[in-house]
Symmetry: C2
Subunit: 505 residues, 2 copies
């Protein structure tokens, strides 16, 4: 196949790309040498990386099954520099991929033989408007840094991915990231008012504006979540949210997963909208306890971590409704965190769960699907069967209130044949999710990882509509090509084969 | 100009179209007679209107300054019928305009010489999923009817335009409608999960899905608020929201508009997020009292109607914070509605304000702009000066918590020269709004009414991007053409001239 021949000509030393990735990624046909020469003119040496050793840090994002080196990495500091890099790519016919912190989980930042435009140096908080609760930030601002910077005004930036101490707001915009508090506060798109964007032709446009609503078509909403395929964001106007006056966090302990799932629906049926309802299963609880000592029970089938917030005097009623609901669902034990220290420890346990699971097995592969909440018990049971069938361990730690699953497949990539079984388990999980009327991704995106499932979820007409939309922004398909929307005829059937390119090719 | 010559050939008997409308609307060049013959084949006689007397009911929407007859009105009952009508229009090169209840306020449903596809017969609630809080509805379902139908399950449909007893959910989708409770619950786009759409080529596609998030590009968000220029919605999956356990409504009475504005910012500064914060000025209060007897004070400069909702025991603290804030802002008097009867009366006063103003003057023209909340006092003072300068009366009744103004210009169209002054006042208001960094429209849309201001708000590059987006859905510009996005070179400068076509043309 044409694209494989072309990929083979790239510096793919040590690359690991699935058949899907190889089939999806278009050939890089442009003048690589000329682009490298352009970079010398456009950026000082310390802000362009071309040595293989430097490029290794950019060979993948948080989805580590697929890995390959980019052509070069650039570190622009202004929108004009981004525009000049994009124009150079257009002139030389080389694709480019914007990259935040590289914490994405669907291979969206993989830039095989392409130019990486990393926004890490564009990390300034430009303006905070306390009265109107808005802030202009550059895309490389780390999510948690913004919250820290505005805390003095009683404000915070509400979307809180578990990676919030590392991930950037630009990356969050690309992926429309969520987090545990999505249940009450919504995902990134609910908190972005305007975007300055460098389009793939190098022009700089402003989408949206500071008013609560903007006339004309809602280009901000369609840009947010486009996974870096429409252009490079260079400035973001975000909404800031008041820090709630009070907060209470409950830990409900269940002896069965089914009861824990019933706890979720019972809570929401009582008219309480908690800030977060997270579920953590036994495998994860044990991993976390060994690492963080958060105070989780080792013998529970699952726990729910439920947080309510609001005006201080309101909390008791909300918390009581949560406790009643969990009791009605058969919780073995329920307790409220007595103070902030205990509360933060519980949350540290939840947010560092992925790191903790990394101690159980050297590799993990996190999935991301959304299902109707009412189907949680049957789907979790089916995931247990998938683990058994494929002889892998699967942990579950996820946003139960949203029905947003995160099955984590744990493995050791040195074990022969295991990667195939990991991919097979992932495939079975995604088909299970689709079978419930659910969606392929809640917050991690499609990227390269799930592109082959898009044909199962969307008709050819739907996909054609998305391709036409993409061409509005990027008619030449130079902006993160081969991701999100499969090119016609370029998508292999969902399969599990896995190809390791020989060294030196 | 070509389009005028062409419009003159249409049955514009009695039409009233501004220069802007005449300049924006493209010529209708297709085969009208052939389309009328097609209609006889496609629909039974009682579901196609072509007699001039019947068409008069469709000569405008709630913006009555611009009026003209459509070519014909059709009343399809299924998506397939809509598709066959759209295909007939495409074959005959005749534009078509979808229409809900016709309560829009920006002339978006005006269908000069085009085919109206009215959704009034597609008014079934197809499915209510109580556990997952979702409902599939047809586009002609009246907003308040859905809320009434799901009330037995403790649910409601949250977006509540003041016209909710008449307007349809399909129309709400087109305009991304808001309402008083937008402050807490968001606008229509926050409550729509999926759309079945007939595209302008007659194909039927599904956008979005029942899961909390859908992968791929967010076509639902960009369709919602596209003001009927992307296609005809034939089925809508909406989110349903639990009815709050309790609700309290406060009326705060102010002797100065500035104090009332300060009340708004004081409330929000205390970390309370009320369900609604509405402001009603003296002109409106007097009109409402004479009509509804809602219990509003006649001598106040303005009142705030503030509603808090949530768990029953939480309400007191929220209500107390609101009362404190209003007191701190200098309210003369504040009272809480004692019971549901009093509460509903206050809301009836607010929601019927436009009807009440209709008793003060036979004609009114409602504007719609969004400004940063902190600029409310200066903008309201400037609106007072604009009224004086143009010798018109302007009432203000609006969503103060959102900064979403609705200045209502009151007039009698029989008074010579008054329409020009009404348009001049409107022009001054919109320029004032734009000068604050605000937006042209919060919820009423651009339609035909404000199309000439889009060039003031957006650069030619921004507009070109929107045109490219429109062409993704409607490459031939047959779907509600001449609305929202000005065609290049087809937009007159903002002006106030007004042209009445002679009878018989």
């Amino acid at each position: 196949m044409k694209q494989r021949a072309s990929l083979a000509a790239l510096p793919l030393s040590g690359s690991t790309l699935s058949e899907t990735a190889l089939a999806s990624l278009p050939p890089v046909v442009g003048d690589r040498a000329a682009l490298l020469a352009d970079l010398e003119r456009l950026l000082p040496p310390e802000r362009r990386l071309t040595a293989t050793d430097d490029l290794f840090a950019y060979e993948c994002d948080g989805q580590t099954l697929d890995r390959a080196l980019p052509l070069a990495v650039t570190l622009p500091e202004t929108a004009d520099e981004v525009a000049s890099l994009v124009r150079a790519c257009a002139a030389r016919d080389i694709p480019f991929v914007a990259r935040g912190a590289g914490t994405g989980l669907s291979g969206g930042a993989l830039a095989v033989g392409s130019l990486v435009i990393a926004t890490s140096r564009m990390n300034a908080i430009l303006e905070v408007d306390v009265a109107n609760r808005q802030a202009w930030v550059q895309p490389g601002v780390v999510n948690a840094h913004l919250t820290r910077a505005v805390a003095q005004h009683g404000l915070h930036y509400a979307p809180d991915p578990s990676s919030q101490n590392a991930c950037t707001i630009g990356g969050n915009v690309a992926e429309n990231s969520g987090g545990p508090h999505t249940l009450k506060y919504g995902v990134t798109t609910n908190h972005v008012l305007a975007l300055e964007v460098v389009l793939p032709d190098g022009s700089i446009v402003m989408l949206g504006g500071p008013a609560a609503d903007t006339p004309g078509y809602d280009l901000v909403s369609v840009f947010v979540g486009s996974e870096g395929t429409f252009g490079v964001v260079t400035k973001i106007l975000v909404r800031l949210t008041p820090v709630p006056e009070g907060v209470k966090t409950a830990l409900a302990i269940f002896d069965s997963i089914t009861d824990a799932c019933r706890g979720v629906t019972e809570i929401l049926a009582r008219g309480v909208l908690p800030a977060a309802v997270e579920m953590i299963d036994q495998i994860t609880l044990r991993a976390v306890e060994a690492y963080i000592h958060a105070g989780f029970p080792l013998d529970a089938a699952a726990v729910l971590l439920v947080e309510v917030d609001g005006l201080r005097d309101d909390l008791d009623q909300q918390a009581n409704a949560v406790l009643d609901a969990c009791r009605a669902a058969g919780a073995r034990d329920i307790r409220l965190a007595r103070d902030d220290a205990e509360r933060l420890k519980l949350w540290k346990g939840r947010k560092q769960a992925f790191g903790a699971l990394g101690r159980v097995a050297p590799n993990y592969y996190t999935h991301d699907g959304v299902i109707p909440r009412t189907k949680l018990p049957e789907v979790l049971a089916a995931i247990g069967r998938i683990a058994k069938d494929n002889r892998v361990t699967i942990a579950n730690v996820f946003h139960a209130g949203d029905g947003n699953l995160h099955p984590v497949v744990l493995y050791d990539e040195r074990e022969p044949g295991v990667v195939e079984r990991v991919r097979a388990a992932g495939d079975a999980i995604l088909k299970l999710v689709l079978g419930t009327g659910g969606a392929l991704s809640g917050e991690h995106g499609i990227g390269l990882e799930k592109i082959q499932y898009m044909t199962a979820l969307f008709s050819e007409d739907d996909l054609a509509e998305m391709r036409r939309l993409r061409s509005v922004f990027d008619p030449r398909l130079l902006c993160n090509p081969g991701k999100v929307i499969p090119a016609p005829g370029r998508c292999v059937e969902p399969g599990h084969s896995h190809r390791k390119l020989p060294l030196g090719h």
